[in-house]
């Protein structure tokens, strides 16, 4: 079995902490495989000719995949036992192939809510055209000394 990496404890996290950056290479394979993995067969996510006929310069990443990358970005940092409670994103510049998305984030707020260590993060993914995604993620982290 894969070693279960450590998960950050609520007590270890400070407001203002920056998350380590994550760069996603936006190959056509990434755009298409993530669309299909999310069962999204809208042609603009896999067929360049039809995407261009519809006024887009190329195929572009679907929003379900952006959600997936945001979730991965957060748990890559926080660890496997961080529990996602809420992901709220707004899309801007499309993720076209042959660009890259540079993800960054920071801890905005932390509080104990009903005994749970709730942490709110701001997340951003920028590509060569500007901000592809801006959002907020809420997670629960284990507390020190808790079973």
């Amino acid at each position: 079995m894969a070693e279960l990496a450590q998960t950050l404890h609520y007590e270890e996290v400070e407001e203002g902490t920056e998350l380590p950056a994550l760069v996603i290479e936006l190959t056509p394979t990434v755009i298409i495989s993530t669309a299909i993995a999310s069962r999204d067969y809208q042609d603009v996510h896999h067929d360049r000719d039809l995407a261009q006929q519809k006024g887009s310069k190329d195929i572009f990443m679907n929003i379900l995949s952006t959600n997936g990358f945001v979730g991965r970005f957060v748990t890559d940092w926080a660890g496997p036992e961080a529990v996602l409670k809420k992901v709220a994103i707004r899309l801007g510049a499309p993720n076209y192939p042959y660009d890259e998305m540079r993800m960054s984030g920071r801890v905005e707020k932390k509080e104990i809510s009903e005994g749970e260590g709730l942490v709110e993060l701001s997340v951003r993914g920028a590509n060569g055209l500007g901000d592809h995604v801006k959002g907020t993620v809420q997670i629960v982290l284990p507390r020190e000394g808790a079973a």
């Binding site: 894969a2 279960l4 993995a37 999310s38 067969y41 042609d43 006024g55 997936g68 979730g71």
Partner: protein, 180 residues
């Protein structure tokens, strides 16, 4: 008597909207779809794909990435025969048809807000009930002029328990003509 404007017709549809009872997802939450997703997203979290590691974690077994919530109920290529040239069916019903007929034929998703009440496990079968929440007036955007539609979907499991909530916004727009 003049015909009601597009805006009036759209707002009437919002006022009349009732939650559309969904049909159950085509497949229950399952490890192969989870693996495809994790491979494509590059997510190596073992609680999604490694039964032993998942068992040893706070989840006590395999769970689906929570951000897959919407993927479970996507239609994929359903109702679209092999080699068919027709487009996959689109959610949205009345307002979508009205907007398409008025020339707003391109669509992009712009906002998504998901709340996870519990993590999903293999075997869970989701049904999403979607309600039209609002439609904006015509907006000028970088893509072209268009209308924002906001829906709210409540996902329930096979027991009827609410497991997730999603607010989703799309923009239907008139694509700009290329090259004048």
């Amino acid at each position: 008597m003049t015909a009601p404007s597009l805006d009036d017709q759209l707002q009437e549809m919002v006022a009349q909207a009732t939650p559309a009872p969904g049909t159950p997802a085509r497949d229950p939450v399952n490890p192969p779809m989870i693996r495809h997703w994790c491979d494509a997203i590059g997510d190596a979290n073992p609680v999604y794909t490694d039964p032993a590691a998942a068992e040893a974690s706070c989840f006590g077994g395999i769970v689906a990435p929570p951000t897959m919530l919407q993927a479970w109920s996507m239609l994929g290529l359903a109702n679209r025969g092999p080699g068919s040239k027709t487009e996959p069916p689109r959610a949205g019903g009345g307002p979508t048809q009205l907007l398409n007929e008025a020339g707003y034929t391109s669509v992009v998703a712009t906002d998504c807000e998901q709340e996870y009440l519990r993590y999903l496990r293999p075997g869970d079968l989701l049904t999403g009930e979607t309600e039209l929440e609002s439609i904006s007036g015509e907006k000028s955007t970088g893509l072209g002029d268009g209308y924002f539609l906001t829906t709210r979907t409540t996902y329930r499991d096979q027991e009827g328990e609410v497991v997730g909530i999603m607010r989703f916004r799309i923009l239907w727009f008139k694509p700009r003509q290329k090259g004048g």
